[in-house]
Symmetry: D4
Subunit: 248 residues, 8 copies
């Protein structure tokens, strides 16, 4: 490339652009270095992990990101912080079950074909499942929710099988013994993203039991994200569905 620049084949601006694609600029807030070109590179802006951030930090990041993108997500925001942030920012929305704050410049247009199925085993797994669903929708995917269909009453799952089989990717959230992804994985031919939840007690060890079950699933076509990582599961399923659509 250097020779091309030297010879004039390539002009300096173009060369800079090519290099900056590899070394994108960041927006420096002191406490954080925002990856503002992330959306350009990957199709989706940086998502804010809200758990350890203060309200002030959240607000500052939203304000800065608004200058560079038309959609912002912050996950793991508890209701108190969300309420305070909404007072400062006004135009953001709080999804209380999913504990997500979103801001959209314009309504999400469902641009991608097909859909993602978000399945969960029990009522207690709902927050994780909703986190996955909201993230997936924010990426422009259609989501079908199939909740409370755990293996202890497996007929509930069979009743929804066609809907699950029709999806391009399937998120399965389960706590306790985490057996649902194995059963689903044996019944569908699409990628399953298993997300263990920390629901349970005793030898559950805060989700370890479900995590190990899912990693050891004997059905193929299952990959696993961290315990309670609804965001990661939804993002991954959304990526698969989006890439199928984008391809055409």
């Amino acid at each position: 490339m250097l020779s091309m620049v030297k010879s004039g084949e390539l002009d300096v601006e173009e060369a800079k652009a090519r290099i900056s694609a590899q070394f994108p600029t960041v927006e420096d807030l002191g406490f954080a270095q925002l990856d503002i070109e992330r959306e350009k590179r990957t199709g989706f802006p940086e998502v804010i992990f809200g758990e350890q951030k203060t309200v002030e930090q959240l607000v500052a990041i939203f304000q800065k990101l608004k200058q560079h993108t038309d959609r912002i997500l912050a996950t793991r925001v508890d209701p108190e912080k969300a309420a305070e942030a909404m007072k400062s920012l006004g135009d953001i929305t709080y999804h209380d079950q999913a504990r997500i704050l979103t801001w959209f410049k314009k309504p999400i247009l469902k641009v991608h074909e097909g859909y993602v199925a978000v399945v969960c085993a029990g009522t207690s797994d709902l927050p994780v499942a909703e986190e996955a669903a909201i993230v997936c929708e924010a990426m422009g995917n259609h989501v079908e929710r199939i909740y409370d269909v755990g293996v202890a009453g497996i007929h509930r799952l069979f009743a929804k099988l066609s809907l699950i089989r029709g999806a391009n990717a399937v998120v399965v959230a389960a706590g306790m013994e985490g057996a649902l992804p194995s059963v689903v994985g044996g019944l569908v031919s699409k990628p399953v993203i298993a997300v263990p939840t920390s629901i349970g007690y005793g030898a559950n060890f805060q989700g370890l039991s479900a995590l190990l079950s899912m990693l050891n699933a004997c059905a193929p076509g299952i990959a696993v994200v961290n315990i309670d990582n609804g965001f990661g599961a939804g993002y991954y399923a959304g990526l698969i569905n989006k890439n199928r659509s984008v391809q055409k």
Copy 2:
């Protein structure tokens, strides 16, 4: 009781018998104290745990127990030890898949009504399932074997459901993610004895994954024994079936 003896109300022999029911005599082999009255108390003689015993110890215990009982079981006997023990003892039988040595004075008579179902998830779980089945049969129970019906192809399980539902107790052996007992537990109304096997690799941690799954099973009616403990599972199921029959 002492007063009754004093007054002659109770004779010394009878009193001794009552006490010895609580403090049974043992047969002292030096390296082992055989609980020879166990069969009288519990209906089944002491079972020999063969894993750390030498061939000499096994032979000595068989020879001594033959004087007190008409059936003997030794579990976890590897083929080499078994072959040597058979040379010394002649009239014993080796069940190679279950790794059990048995001796019966007379053929086992199926005395108990009903049956136990022994279910396993995969071909690799067979040794543990067979250990359970052989022990259960030695206790005088009829056993139905339903093998290789793991959750990755759940239709295989449904095809055998009536047979499983008809049992008085169900042993379910599974490795990897150990999800099968949860599914079975949701479909039957009889006690399920879940036995995790050490089959798997990586984050399976030699059966820990299956063990945790089974302890966290969301279906009721499931209890768990140690990893690879086919003997314990078979004995437990046999006890339930036997007690139902004995009761009448």
Copy 3:
């Protein structure tokens, strides 16, 4: 079956009934899919796991289940939630030590012969033992409670031995080192359901010590449920006792 329907041998309603026995209908509350035919299939209605449910969810489930069954249990309900639920529902009962809410259309009739023994090692294990006992009683079993008979003063256990030996199934709850089930298992010839409790400190690791002890119990005839799972233990023991009785 299809051929039988075609030929008229089997009428459509009967065929439907046979199929619905395999695929029972559910009552969909949005956040939960109630398995309302469970009692018909297994003899006992679905039990509500109250820990992560809100008061509103609990009340809604009670109200719906009342239309389908004549007894309802919710476990792991803390006193605050219980008090609020009782205000809404009126005719329910709270068992504070066991943390269980119950509703019965009519008094429980003791229908099953024999009894279950519920044994615990120390005063601190009482809540778990009571959870087991209440569940067992709700299933129509008679329960004998034998509390605070841990191995550190083993004479306390011997004083109660006849009562324990007379039971058809024995629940043994213990924390700390969890040695009691091993000792009991060596003294009785009925199935023992061991339930480790999270009582202890330091290297107890919230019940792990007792759990491992019980899984490794050297006496046969012992199966284990999850840490603090009084419900599971009581249900399992109740199942064994009930099935014996039902059989006749």
Copy 4:
């Protein structure tokens, strides 16, 4: 459906076909129940897990499956077993680094567009990476191999970045600290399947270190399979690439 059969609207054969799609028949080998309709349902036949199977079992399964499919894979076959199986079966191929036995009735035709990138961190991760690559190819996908590009010399990764970015799915195998998927995940916008390997020593705990790293990866777009599960990773990536192609 029953009514339709009754009325003649649906003939019995068609009804059976519909039902058998849900309950596929199996080929019963005694020790195994082969899921012979799996390919019809999911597009790929059942893969044999060779680790605990005997040579006789492997041969019997190959012979039976040949009647139903035109491609067979057995994973985790050690060289000794492979050599013996090849003597019996003749027309099978052994991939020694991947430890996979394959049989194809006709050459694999690359039917799917795009490609999968299989990346590994070190020379020692090659067997796992090759397992992924061979499985992926057997599914009809093109694979690009990028090996020995671990984070300790991160320039090696950057040199291959375009090739990785062009893939539809990226398998990343790494042992030791397992950091490579996080770095790759931050640089590409396609789904990354992270596969921890058991390479390392000491506090590596047979791959646990890499497994935890990958589950905790801070970059989105990463899902994880079991330690050393090259098969699972390759299958998953292949599924994503295949589904994109199939869709059109």
Copy 5:
């Protein structure tokens, strides 16, 4: 030495001095034995671990140490305790992000050449990084802070690479998967002190994931301190930089 004393070659005072260098005197506060000669031996006074100490104990230790040294540090002091201690002591300073209390008789003079780089992966790792930086500065070292440069956006790290490479020792704090030290270790030729933080959730296990990653780092030149041990990391880096300077 004794012979030398006897012969008068060595006088008693000198001998005492030599011995006391090995057995330094302590200041006994009852609840604590202050190592008041530590600074003389090692160049830096004993640092107070504030976590389990009461305000009274903290104040008493500060007051006593002031008599023996001209700089005092107390780490892990929460804001409430700090506020109370400041009321009693007046002339101390609280570094709230680092949770450190300091007292200096006179301003710190930067006496050592060169500098230490303190690098952290995310905004949430700041408290640990600041603890390291403040300790390092209190030892008389210059510190360069490079924050929020985690591997998910690795271009942020490359932008700061020259600054990091110029340091004599590099502290790298990271939570989640803890991959940053491996990457840094492959790019610099100076000792890296890796400090895992407890930031993360689920299979992070309070910093275990990052700890294992760092211990298994495949790049050489990395050593690790305890989870969240910013003090230890800063002290260690400070020691390396100080010793280089002192040497001349």
Copy 6:
């Protein structure tokens, strides 16, 4: 014995006494079975584990035990419960650092010769050390306290070595890396009771680090009790010292 009773050789009362020595009577409080003959058998009355007991239960047990013994100890009583119990009972004493409630009918008379040394590594280990010391004293032993002599400043230990060496048993409490018992064990020839404390953070895992250190101590003459089990350590040391004295 029965024959002796029959023949009149042994009278019934004497026989009963001999038997009751084996099966002591208990005082049944409903929620607890007090082992009131324990002091007669072992020289020390049952100690109350206060952690999970209510104030009402504590008071009831104190009141009952007062009828049978002249000294009562309750450990792990938090200040709130202690204050309430003192209101009800009046004549009890609370040792706040040790969190022990005691009642003595008459002052403890130091009856045993020799003494026990209670050593601890840091100021934060004081509560555990004090628990050990108070229990030991209540058993009638003299205790020497040697506190804050951890291995980071090993000269502090050497200064107290004669005092430690003179004891008949040595309790050593330490948190963090728990190295002190190894060093002490190499310097004394009396039994060392090592008690790990839960003091520390990060990879300390609530005392696991110190526990493992102590179990792996390379010096002989060291045995270990549970994490934070000051009571157990003090009781054990007291037993050794008492038995030496009693013997004469």
Copy 7:
């Protein structure tokens, strides 16, 4: 002391002797620094841990120690090494069950009063129990062996209770669930040294189950040594018995 030397009050030799009692000389073999004055200080010479040592190292250490002591023990010596060492050294004895090599200049004289009881739960625990017994005897203690009295048949223990109660210290070795020390601890008033063995399988985790049980024992008067550490247990019990005797 220095002043006393200076003034002539204390002569140099005496001062040296006093100091060398604190800093004993060692015999340097290059690969090992033998603590040859250990016997003088503690009453028993250094015991050789044979596990990782070569035959050559063992022989060299025996030859050197013979010059300084009249008894030598090497533990954890496997039969092959023992046979080779005996060829070189001639006058040593191998205890094959305990895997200990001993050399005595003259026969052991039983010098200490009283005895130690060594109890074990099962036949498989014999090697560990024998290691304890041999070490204890080598220290000059009388040992009573009570083997195979595990809790699954608790009457075997009661039959030996008087013998156990008469000991000055009780070693209890047990594998599997490790419940025996708790039961023994509740029945005796002498110090119990619990030694977990690695006997068991599955969730035993190589002795972890028994170790945790023993650390959590609810009976007081129990301390624990490392898994399979028969040497440590025997040494500790021997120390207690010896010190009682020495005292007079």
Copy 8:
């Protein structure tokens, strides 16, 4: 830089050189990508991790590296592989205790001032200590070895204290409880690199005990490397000593 190239200020070759300093070329062997410019960047060539490599791979790497460097190290090479490699390569040296293969074009010249102390606790830790020492020497550092000075006989350590204190960096290897680094860390003012070894048994868990001890060391100035990672410890210490020297 691009502008400078365009304007001719910087010529293309110079620009390439600057860039290649950031993206060094590699030597591609197919199975490995050798980082041949590593020595230029960091002062020491890439070290070969020999554990999973075949003899053929080792030989190929040695042959290739000889073209680029004048010193090569391969660690973790077992004696069999070493013997075969020496046959092929001739001029390499095997350090059998350290299990390292080295090749030097010319003798190592001790170029760096000062020295590194390598300390180990027991004879069994020698291989790890030697690995550290050999690596350190290969980097051009002088090493002082101080072996078998563990805390069970702490006087052995004090005898060598001056030698340890004189070093610029101290490697301390220890197994079992791993207490030695804490003690050394409290006595010296130079950076200590603690390396846990896997020596021990039972609750040692293959070095976990020592690892945790070292991470929790209460003395400052200690950093830790992976279990048995003598290479990492030696390299780190060598880096510190080298950098001090280089600086002048």
